[in-house]
């Protein structure tokens, strides 16, 4: 049961990058000649030794992977996360033998198939049918294997009618569907997948993710790189986090993803000013503190969608004659205002007596109302309903994440500025009744 199929020990991958040295303002001809002569000599030597030639005066070593060790057991589905350039793709390339490691060693048991890009080797001039055989062979399938699965592949890709059309005439959707279908029917012991699920339309993504889930359930080992954290958490029980080429963490996907997302965002969950003189504001109002917190702590740094979120604003009021409205404008991505809300919505607000001093306004956003993604809050103070007194742009910045695994197979983002939970009910009304 618990046999190890991939074992990486101190794995490292080094790339050498050449730099042009920063030169001073003038160059002596002698230096130039010397540099060229030395360069020529170095190049000849490299050429003779079969080493890669690198252009530039100084060479810098860059470790894309450094000292990475882990073990993966048979049948495990492991997600690999990390920022761009963290070494995820390099790791997959080493594991799938595309490039050789510079240090350490990997022991692999079983056949590895890598899916680093759908449609690798597709030729536009060839027909769909020909490309299925070509792509299958490139991915390591035998002709007999492809023949056996041919119909299944075609059905999955929904391209029956266009089988004998050159793929250059395919729509991009058809192309991607066909490419993924071939890859999805690979049957290696170990499958290495890089970000290929982000292709196609929503319906096809759903289908591909379902297929990925099937592969994992069949007891095959899957390594999965994705930026879709919802999909990753739902498909992979375990995750490995790479940061700048090193192992940052390895463990339960839920915890790792939460930690990773916490580090990722430039979130602004609280701002506080203790000095009345320098706090943002003017002669009528000054801010003391603005913050956001989830009503129940789920141990994540981001704002969970599934719990009410509390936004608090504390401020000093200096003018006893005005009734201040605290107005929150909630922006989602692409500068879209999801909604605007103000403290005046509170029925008790009108009845409050006016006086100077410190106030605290709390706004509670109900659970399962916001959509996932980054939110920014612009804070405004109004007087007499319409006149803006003070504005603080980007008072708060936070990411809303889903913390509960989803049912079903769709892990994409639901569209919409908000995602309120609606009251729905469906009931059965009986057989057809034409007289009704």
């Amino acid at each position: 049961m618990s046999d190890v199929v991939i074992k990486a020990e101190g794995l490292g991958k080094k790339y050498t990058i050449g730099h042009q040295a920063e030169n001073g303002s003038y160059l002596a001809l002698r230096d130039v000649l010397m540099e060229n002569a030395r360069g020529l000599w170095n190049k000849t030597r490299d050429l003779a030794r079969g080493r890669p030639l690198i252009v530039g005066d100084t060479h810098e070593e860059m470790w894309a992977l450094r000292d990475v060790s882990f073990e993966i057991r048979r049948g495990e589905t492991v997600g690999i996360i990390g920022r761009n350039g963290a070494g995820k793709s390099t790791l997959l390339k080493v594991l799938s033998r595309i490039t050789e490691p510079s240090a350490g060693r990997v022991t692999i048991k079983g056949r590895v198939a890598s899916l680093l890009e759908v449609g690798t080797g597709f030729h536009p001039e060839l027909t769909g049918r020909e490309n299925i055989y070509l792509n299958g062979a490139i991915l390591g399938m035998t002709r007999a294997e492809i023949k056996r699965k041919f119909d299944e592949i075609v059905t999955f890709a929904e391209v029956e009618r266009f089988l004998d059309t050159p793929v250059k005439r395919y729509s991009s959707g058809m192309y991607v569907r066909l490419a993924f279908a071939v890859a999805a029917h690979l049957e290696p012991e170990i499958l290495v997948v890089d970000e290929v699920l982000a292709v196609g339309d929503a319906a096809f993504q759903k289908k591909s993710l379902g297929k990925m889930g099937d592969v994992a359930r069949e007891g095959r080992t899957v390594l999965f790189v994705s930026h879709n954290m919802v999909a990753l958490r739902s498909l992979c029980p375990r995750a490995i986090w790479l940061h700048e080429g090193k192992m940052q963490d390895d463990g339960m996907a839920g915890d790792i993803v939460a930690d990773y997302l916490g580090l990722q965002t430039a979130a602004l969950h609280e701002q506080r000013w203790d000095d009345l003189a320098t706090a943002p504001g003017n002669e009528m109002v000054r801010l003391h503190r603005v913050w956001i917190e989830p009503e129940d702590d789920r141990g994540v740094t981001d704002m969970p969608r599934e719990t009410p979120l509390k936004i608090g604003v504390e401020y000093w009021q200096f003018d006893p004659a005005v009734r201040l409205h605290v107005n929150l404008r909630v922006y989602v991505e692409q500068q879209i205002i999801a909604f605007t809300t103000a403290s005046s919505e509170d029925s008790g607000w009108q009845a409050m007596s006016l006086r100077t001093g410190r106030y605290r306004s709390i706004c509670v956003i109900p659970a399962k109302f916001l959509n996932t993604g980054q939110h920014r809050i612009y804070l405004r103070f109004y007087k007499s309903d319409t006149k803006t007194i003070y504005t603080l742009e980007e008072a708060l910045v936070f990411d809303v994440i889903e913390t509960e695994p989803r049912q079903g197979t769709w892990f994409g983002r639901t569209s919409g500025a908000v995602r309120p939970r609606m009251a729905w009910s469906t009931e059965y009304l009986g057989q057809y009744d034409w007289n009704c």
């Binding site: 890669p52 022991t107 890598s114």
Partner: protein
């Protein structure tokens, strides 16, 4: 990380990836990927004949016109002797056949890795598959132009002797002669992209230093060994021996030297290719 967990070897192959580790399974892997070889060769062929309407025709026209020009220039204007009583055109064509095979193989194979960069950087397979599959197109062109040879023989009423049966062996020799330098060039091409500009030059230059338009008999005896350093000398002599019969003597000094050079280049090409192969994905 528990160090005592070892990988038990069942029926599955156990693969160890380490820097600089010589791959024991390399030749076995190459055999396992033979279907990829076939399918890549088939892809190159079908794309070639789909894109050019005169694909097949081109394989006939080009060597035929070259033969006409060489016969006129070398045989007619320069008045060089043929081999024995063989017609000059036939002698030229018997040399042109292996030369075209060699030249096309060399150009196709030398560019093959760069042309298949997207495969190299995305999937693993023994990289040797790519340049060798690229040579199949040249082989098919060669087979097509054999038809002209047959036509010429009928035209000149020149029947070949039993040694024509050895032609496949010399075809293989021509391919091997091309494979060695091709592997080296294609690997260098990955590193230094401007290397491919040398290939048309090699091909053009080679055409004149090889005994294509003339018989190698015209070379003085004492220079033959030196001349044999050009591996195509041996290959062309072999072809002429097969096609023209006993008129063209074989197994001279130049032929032996050429064989040694072919073997050396094959060894050199493969070892250079293997050495650079592991870094292809990083450089391409």
């Amino acid at each position: 990380m528990t160090s005592d967990t070892t990988i038990a070897s069942h029926d599955e192959p156990v693969l160890v990836l380490e820097p600089g580790r010589a791959d024991k399974h390399y030749w076995m892997d190459l055999w396992r990927f033979r279907e990829l070889f076939i399918i890549l060769a088939w892809r190159d062929l079908s794309v070639r004949y789909k894109q050019t309407v005169i694909g097949v025709l081109w394989a006939i026209i080009r060597p035929f016109l070259t033969m006409v020009v060489f016969t006129v220039v070398f045989g007619g204007l320069a008045g060089l002797p043929s081999e024995g009583d063989a017609p000059y055109a036939l002698m030229v064509f018997a040399g042109l056949l292996p030369w075209t095979l060699f030249a096309n193989s060399l150009s196709e194979a030398s560019n093959s890795l760069v042309d298949n960069a997207n495969l190299i950087s995305k999937v693993y397979f023994p990289r040797l598959v790519v340049p060798s599959a690229a040579m199949v197109t040249a082989l098919v062109d060669f087979l097509i132009s054999l038809a002209i040879l047959a036509g010429l023989m009928v035209f000149y009423r020149y029947a070949p002797g039993p040694q024509i049966l050895l032609l496949p062996a010399f075809t293989l020799l021509a391919l091997l002669a091309a494979l060695g330098p091709s592997l080296w060039l294609t690997a260098l091409n990955v590193k230094y992209r401007d290397f491919r500009y040398t290939i048309p030059f090699i091909v053009q230059f080679g055409l004149y230093v090889s005994p294509v338009g003339f018989s190698s008999q015209t070379i003085p005896e004492r220079w033959r060994a030196l001349y044999g350093l050009n591996p195509m000398v041996g290959v062309i002599e072999g072809f002429r021996w097969c096609i023209l019969g006993g008129e063209a003597p074989l197994f001279g000094t130049s032929f032996i030297v050429s064989l040694v050079v072919v073997a050396f280049f094959l060894w050199f090409g493969i070892s250079q290719f293997r050495k650079m192969e592991k870094s292809f994905a990083d450089l391409i």
